[in-house]
């Protein structure tokens, strides 16, 4: 697994949705460069274009304008199998991120490109997957069907799947949204582990508190445009709040003291 891969370059990205005669611009001429290995958190309101941005980068929708490059190659020129080798998308809905009628083992094996190319024995793989799942409390459930996991457990499984993917870019669409605080903490640890392995992380969230505490860089997306972009310690609550809440419901405090 190479650590230098995983650069995202976006130039003039525009995505519009047309329904009847109305055209809605979900993303409006956005430019963005994410260096390899960076953990970036994108925060914004519902409908600000966060999920659309991720869907465009993972090739699930074709942009109306602009260009997305992964490691220098234009996304439009890659086959969907090639895109899957570079980008992995963890869905917002934990039910979408795993195959319910397959066992946990099979869910992990099918994502594990290295294992599928042969070599490792079934027992080796069982050990490897048990080690990955142990901190999450799922190690003894490898032979169960994924549908017997709770929503939170399935999200943890989806993030474990991400750790087996060869892709250097991880797109995480609100991975913590449906989780209790303990599961959310475990999920954050999984994301940190991914980042420590050299993966580029693009994590989308509703939660401005999380946006400022997690990752290396925070971006506010508002009405399809970037309203805030700061790195590391330079991120601070006041300026983020300004960028984030100009059009928010007035006076409702969602900030931790």
């Amino acid at each position: 697994m190479s650590t230098h891969k995983g650069t995202i370059e976006i130039k003039g990205l525009t995505v519009t949705f047309s329904r009847w005669r109305q055209t809605v611009k979900a993303i409006e001429g956005v430019n963005l460069t994410v260096p390899a290995g960076q953990w970036m958190v994108v925060v914004g309101h519902n409908g600000s274009g966060k999920s659309t941005l991720l869907r465009a980068i993972s090739g699930l929708l074709t942009p109306n304008g602009g260009e997305i490059r992964i490691d220098g190659d234009s996304l439009g020129g890659l086959s969907s199998a090639q895109v899957a080798e570079r980008v992995f998308h963890v869905h917002q809905d934990p039910l979408l991120g795993t195959a319910p009628t397959l066992t946990l083992f099979e869910n992990l094996f099918v994502a594990d490109a290295a294992a599928q190319n042969g070599g490792a024995s079934r027992n080796d793989l069982l050990d490897k997957y048990s080690d990955l799942l142990r901190p999450l409390g799922l190690a003894d459930r490898l032979k169960q069907l994924a549908r017997y996991l709770s929503g939170g457990e399935r999200q943890l499984l989806a993030l474990t799947v991400a750790r087996l993917r060869p892709a250097a870019v991880m797109l995480l669409d609100e991975p913590l949204a449906a989780l209790d605080p303990v599961k959310a903490e475990l999920c954050l640890e999984q994301i940190k582990a991914l980042n420590d392995e050299g993966k580029t992380i693009l994590q989308v969230t509703h939660d401005p508190n999380l946006a400022i505490s997690a990752g290396d860089r925070t971006l506010v997306l508002r009405q399809g445009r970037f309203a805030y972009d700061e790195v590391g310690d330079r991120r601070e609550a006041d300026s983020l709040r300004k960028a984030w809440s100009l059009d928010a419901g007035g006076g409702i405090s969602i900030w931790k003291k």
């Binding site: 993972s58 699930l60 969907s80 199998a81 090639q82 895109v83 899957a84 080798e85 992995f88 998308h89 869905h91 039910l95 979408l96 991120g97 795993t98 195959a99 319910p100 009628t101 397959l102 066992t103 099979e106 869910n107 094996f109 099918v110 994502a111 599928q116 069907l145 549908r147 993917r165």
Partner: protein
Amino acid sequence: MLVPLDIGLIMGLLLAWAVMALALAFRLLDFPDLTVEGSLPLGAAVFAILHKSGASMPVAMVYAILSGGVAGALTGFIHIRFKLNKFLAGIIVVAITYSLSLRIMGASNIGLLQATSVFDFVEPLNTAFPESFHFGTIVLLVAFLILGSFLILYGLSTRYGIRLRVAGSNPDYAKALGINVPMNVIAGLAITNCLAAFSGVLLSMHQGFADISMGQGVLILALAAMTIGERLLPEKHLPFHVFVLCAAILGSIAYQVLVAYAVRAGLAATDLKLATAIMVLLVVAFRVSRNGDLLAEAHQ
């Protein structure tokens, strides 16, 4: 008393292939595949005409099975290429295969009584038992099913089989992993309809003729058999694909034995479909009350 058991067992074992075809497509690919109703008589037709016109039995069987595969692949292709509803794609292919089977046979049925069949080999075993019990036939059909199930289950446990099951279980997830979902659906339907065509081949050999109306009612009986089988088998203790396959075979046998005894007890053959439909509804209703989660939504 043994006659209905004999008839039921043999019919159940013959049609288990068609039930497997429906159940595997429905459960593993999330594709309620109506094509089965067309690929079964197509398989019988292709086998009958080839064997009748001089092709050896194994060769005729291979072509017949492949013809079912083509029908299944066509259904998948129509669904994916034209984004047509799964049911409509199946209905279109059933219509195509009906005319095609008639064209191939040149008549609405072909007799095969003089032709060789796989059942010739076990005739000595049959005659060794009382006339009302075809032990040899049953042993042969069970052997076929064991061999077939073993091959299918092995295939589904390889990495290609796992990819196929992921594509059916969660297409979004499969896409994120770089699995070609449309190709897997088409390949999966081709394979399941090969099974249905094999059912047609075995039926035509056993009955001594191939008939255009052979497929009629296969869907409802396969649905009934699948439903019953899934009720009889404990779901939690088996891998899902093993459960689906075993439930199909078990259900097919249970359903046909039940029908054989019901007909013996005086159920008119004309009422059979109504009785089957009511039975499916009763089983489904009973399942809901037991808090089973299987039939209503395969995916949650």
